[in-house]
């Protein structure tokens, strides 16, 4: 307002000044006409004076910016077709970048809620046979005592409890931890106290720390909860504290207990080096110690332990990885691949918009020339065109942000649940800053070339020649060809990536899991040791549940088993086959073990290859039997029939103590750990022999939709024990499909980006060809007047499009082959240099180029020679 007033004053003053001068001139006898002219000449350019005066006031740049913005919006409104195409291309490019970056940020960049998290390492043991395995508790003690690379070290052991005494029984997951665990991470309980150091010793009083979520859910955020007792597996635990809300742990963590409480409950096993629970160790690197140095020290200690405790530690090494790697796991390469893909999409979108701007810029050459003639500086023109670019890009950014908002939830499923703190992936401030940056960079990327071109226009010739093609026009078309070629090349790269994913996923879907997952429902039951303290009671419970379940309508067959496929659970033991030559302790076969009820093979639909499966007669009274899988048979019973042979668990011991199991059947390999993973050695033992399991999966094959059985199954379980909790209800099909969720998601997104890229490239090629045809109307007219046939003209135009595509392919294919190597870890049984994929992409891009040139080519053939030449 104030500025407007000032401006009006200035204009008035200038008018007054001119009037004075005119009056003077009139009094000197000039004609009114001449007086006015002379006054204006003497004054100079009113516009420039106003401008210069405004500069003195300051904020001139703001005025200029506002004027440029208004002008830009007006220009964009005048060419709605251009604006819509440009803004949509940018929206897709920027939106995809924002969405993917938000996931990358929360998985890979967001600071972990631990003090100095980059110094925290996850420590595991490792054998050449199996790979990374959990840590034996005694080994942890030796690491802790002997290493100097770590200022602190804590062990974590997953535990599970049935929570009772409140409302519905609930199955809780938690961690038994060294008492220094929280302090090492720099975490303080939200309320109550931390664990005390002597709570690592066996025999300590049962205490528990609740997760924030459990405290809210089961105790209504009662502030007086500390000091109360809670019944876990029927035993009273004193609540000593509540964890903070942002506490982050691998997997679902409802509670923490000190390791001492866990060792008290499991005193028999935990001090055996041979017995690994699922323990992992977290350590904080000492000041100035690198991960490499810590690793080599730890491996040295492991090597000494392997010598000292040969029977249990032979070939057992140690690995050290940063805590973020351990939490992020396999998704890092997938996320980086996606980030690369969306950057390519953005580049294509930018090339496309630059191309459109160039076409439009050619139409505006006169406008620019006129502005320069009227005194606009080249810098001013440059700024104005960049402002237009920025407006386009910001509009794209706004819409893109909407796209990202819609897509981000779905994308969030890519990253492990452990990292989804604060309600998962979100569009937060760093993401906003990132997309603002992308908006600006995109504007520069696609705006610079047209802005430079607008300025390079030769004033004289532009004004003189008007709309005719000039030297600048030729330069324009060269730039446009380069841009269209670049788009095609980038699209080729994306398509090859997408194509490899398609093939990989196709291979994965074709993988035989070794069982028939359709119509199978699974759920996990975990018995309270206090209520089921004898083997007989436990086995009786499983039998009763099976009996009730089998009576339900719709149930075809049912079984209980430990470590069902795709559940992620596992038990592995060394076995000794009767008559085998004694081996190094680390070289014994180490199969996965399943305790199963009769009916397991039928329920899961696993092929029985030899012998028989278990029956109700394989019980405590009968002599122990087992089934093995084909891989074990092939590897350890070469050229022999394993049925009738015997093996035992563990390493050879005195004959009279050996408990041999007779192999009665051989079954097909099952994919225990997801479709992409190698099958392993497996042995099956009847659940009534040798071992007893408190936790088993109930598997039911139904005649109908398996999820419809859920409530009936719950009822059957409760009818045996109304206090029994039920967890992890899922259909086997879901579990199988979840095991390839990442490649499926990757395929979906890469495919989407690939399609986007092709469409954008097609638009780019179309634009270039159509414009060139429009410009060459005269030339085409002459050619036709000189006798060129229409089919020839048609072919010439199509050829021009194909040439662009061929150039793009020539650049894109080598680039794709190079880049695809980066995604080799994400592919399943597909070579990164897959010839089929490359040739399919080449065909597709050529086809698209022909299709994109088709319409302009048709238009070229309709040129009337006489009209074009007139």
């Amino acid at each position: 307002m104030k500025r407007d007033q000032r401006m009006a004053d200035l204009k008035q003053e200038i008018q007054d000044h001119l009037q004075e001068e005119i009056d003077d001139n009139l009094s000197r006898g000039m004609s009114p006409e001449e007086s006015r002219r002379a006054a204006l000449i003497k004054f100079g350019s009113v516009t420039r004076v106003t401008e210069a005066t405004r500069e003195v006031w300051g904020f001139a740049w703001l005025d200029r910016l506002l004027a440029d913005l208004q002008y830009a919006l007006r220009m964009l409104r005048k060419t709605p077709g251009f604006t819509v195409v440009a803004v949509l291309s940018l929206a897709l490019g920027i939106g995809a970048n924002t969405a993917v970056f938000s996931v990358v940020y929360s998985a890979l960049l967001q600071p972990l809620p631990f003090r100095d998290a980059s110094r925290l390492m996850v420590l595991n043991e490792r054998t050449p046979n199996v790979g990374i395995i959990s840590v034996a508790y005694p080994d942890f003690f030796d690491w802790h005592a002997q290493s100097h690379s770590f200022s602190d070290m804590a062990a974590l052991q997953p535990v599970a409890f049935n929570l009772s005494g409140l409302t519905e029984p609930e199955f809780l997951n938690g961690l038994a931890v060294s008492p220094n665990f929280l302090a090492m991470l720099g975490i303080r309980p939200a309320s109550g106290r931390d664990f005390e150091l002597d709570e690592e010793k066996p025999g300590t009083a049962p205490v528990v720390m609740l997760s924030y979520a459990l405290w809210q859910r089961r105790y209504g955020a009662d502030s007086g909860v500390v000091g109360k007792t809670v019944l876990l597996d029927g035993r009273p635990f004193t609540i000593v504290g509540v964890l903070p809300a942002d506490f982050l742990a691998p997997g679902k963590t409802d509670l923490l207990i000190p390791l001492g409480v866990w060792t008290t409950n499991n005193s028999a096993e935990v001090h055996e080096r041979s017995d690994r629970g699922d323990m992992i160790v977290v350590g904080r690197l000492a000041d100035g110690v690198s991960q490499t140095r810590a690793t080599s020290e730890l491996q040295g200690i492991a090597a000494r332990l392997a010598m000292e405790y040969r029977a249990t530690n032979d070939r057992v090494g140690a690995v050290v990885q940063p805590i973020r790697d351990a939490l992020v796991g396999q998704v890092r390469p997938a996320l980086l691949l996606l980030l690369g893909a969306v950057i390519l999409v953005l580049l294509i979108a930018c090339a496309n918009v630059a191309n459109l701007l160039l076409v439009r810029g050619a139409g505006r050459a006169d406008e620019m020339a006129l502005r320069i003639a009227l005194g606009a500086t080249r810098a001013r023109i440059f700024a104005q065109i960049l402002t237009e670019s920025l407006v386009l890009s910001s509009l794209g950014g706004l819409i893109g942000f909407g796209v990202a908002f819609a897509g981000v939830r779905a994308l969030g499923r890519l990253i492990p649940a452990a990292l989804q703190h604060d309600g998962g992936v979100a569009l937060n401030v760093p993401v906003l800053v990132f997309s603002a940056g992308v908006v600006v960079i995109a504007a520069l990327l696609f705006g610079i070339t047209p802005a430079l071109h607008a300025n390079r226009n030769d004033l004289q010739s532009a004004l003189k020649e008007g709309r005719r093609c000039s030297g600048a026009g030729a330069r324009h078309s060269r730039t446009r060809n380069i841009l269209a070629t670049a788009e095609a090349a980038l699209a080729v790269v994306l398509l090859v990536g997408a194509g490899l994913m398609v093939k990989s996923l196709y291979r994965l879907v074709q993988v035989d899991p070794g069982f028939r997952p359709d119509r199978v429902l699974t759920m996990t039951l975990s018995l309270r040791p206090d209520r089921y303290s004898t083997d007989a009671a436990v086995r009786n419970f499983w039998d009763q549940v099976l009996q009730r379940v089998r009576e339900l309508p719709g149930v075809e067959s049912a079984a209980v088993a430990t470590n069902a496929p795709m559940t992620g659970n596992h038990d592995r033991l060394d076995i000794t086959i009767e008559g085998m030559v004694p081996l190094r302790p680390g070289d014994y076969p180490h199969p996965d073990l399943h305790l199963v009820s009769p009916g397991y093979v039928q329920t899961l639909g696993i092929d029985l290859l030899r012998g028989r499966s278990f029956t109700a007669d394989d019980n405590e009274q009968a002599s122990p039997v087992a089934m093995i899988n084909q891989r074990l048979a092939n590897q350890w019973f070469r050229n022999e029939d394993p049925v009738g042979k015997r093996f035992m668990f563990g390493h050879p011991i005195a004959k009279e103590q050996s408990q041999w199991l007779t192999i009665v059947g051989v079954v097909a390999d099952t994919k225990l750990y997801g479709l992409a993973n190698q099958s392993r050695l497996e042995v099956y033992v009847p659940f009534r022999q040798i071992f007893t399991a408190h936790q088993m999966d109930l598997l039911v094959r139904s005649r109908i939709d398996p999820s419809a059985l859920t409530s009936g199954l719950r009822g059957a379980v409760y009818s045996v024990d109304s206090n029994q909790s039920i967890a992890a209800v899922a259909t086997m099909k879901e579990l199988v499909s979840n095991s390839i969720a990442t490649p499926r998601m990757l395929l979906l997104l890469l495919g989407l980006f690939g399609v986007l890229a092709v469409v954008l490239a097609a638009v780019g090629i179309y634009g270039v060809i159509a414009y060139s045809v429009a410009q060459r109307t005269r030339e085409i007219g002459i050619r036709m007047a000189l006798g060129a046939r229409r089919s020839h003209v048609f072919g010439m135009v199509i050829g021009q499009g194909v040439k662009l595509a061929v150039a793009g392919i020539a650049i894109g294919i080598p680039a794709a082959l190079g880049l695809a190597r980066l995604m080799s870890s994400l592919l399943y049984q597909v070579s990164t240099a897959d010839a089929e994929t490359s040739s399919a992409v080449v065909m597709l891009v050529l086809l698209v180029a022909v299709a994109a040139s088709f319409v302009p080519a048709r238009r070229a053939t309709t040129v009337e020679p006489m009209e074009a030449l007139r």
């Binding site: 003053e13 200038i14 007054d16 000044h17 004075e20 420039r48 210069a52 005066t53």
Partner: protein, 119 residues
């Protein structure tokens, strides 16, 4: 064409316009047109001022508070904005004038050596 056009005219050095405006206003408040006329007249019309360039200069001086502006009426009985020298502007003029004298003297000595010496 008048005879004036035969005389050589000099374009103003950067910054000297400010000095001339301040000097003109020393004689009393004046409006824009009068200031230009005074500069032309007092320099025997040797100094060429593009009249429009006066205004950015005036606003620069206003911003530095060397002059103030007020409403008034011109000789032709028209509403006009009058500019008046402030105390601050007066001091500035003194400083600039002595600086200018020193500079002009120095340039004159360099350009015209004493004639007696060359004989």
């Amino acid at each position: 064409m008048s005879t004036r056009s035969h005389r050589s005219r000099v374009e103003l050095l950067q910054g000297t316009l400010d000095l001339l405006i301040l000097r003109t206003l020393l004689l009393g408040p004046a409006h824009g047109h009068a200031i230009v006329k005074a500069i032309e007249f007092r320099s025997d019309e040797v100094l060429l001022v593009e009249q429009g360039s006066l205004y950015p200069a005036l606003h620069r001086l206003l911003k530095r508070q060397w002059i103030t502006a007020e409403e008034g009426t011109s000789e032709n009985n028209r509403r006009a904005k009058y500019y008046r020298l402030t105390a601050k502007g007066r001091r500035q003029l003194q400083r600039e004038t002595s600086k200018w004298d020193t500079l002009a003297g120095a340039i004159a000595r360099v350009l015209r050596p004493v004639t007696g010496e060359s004989d």
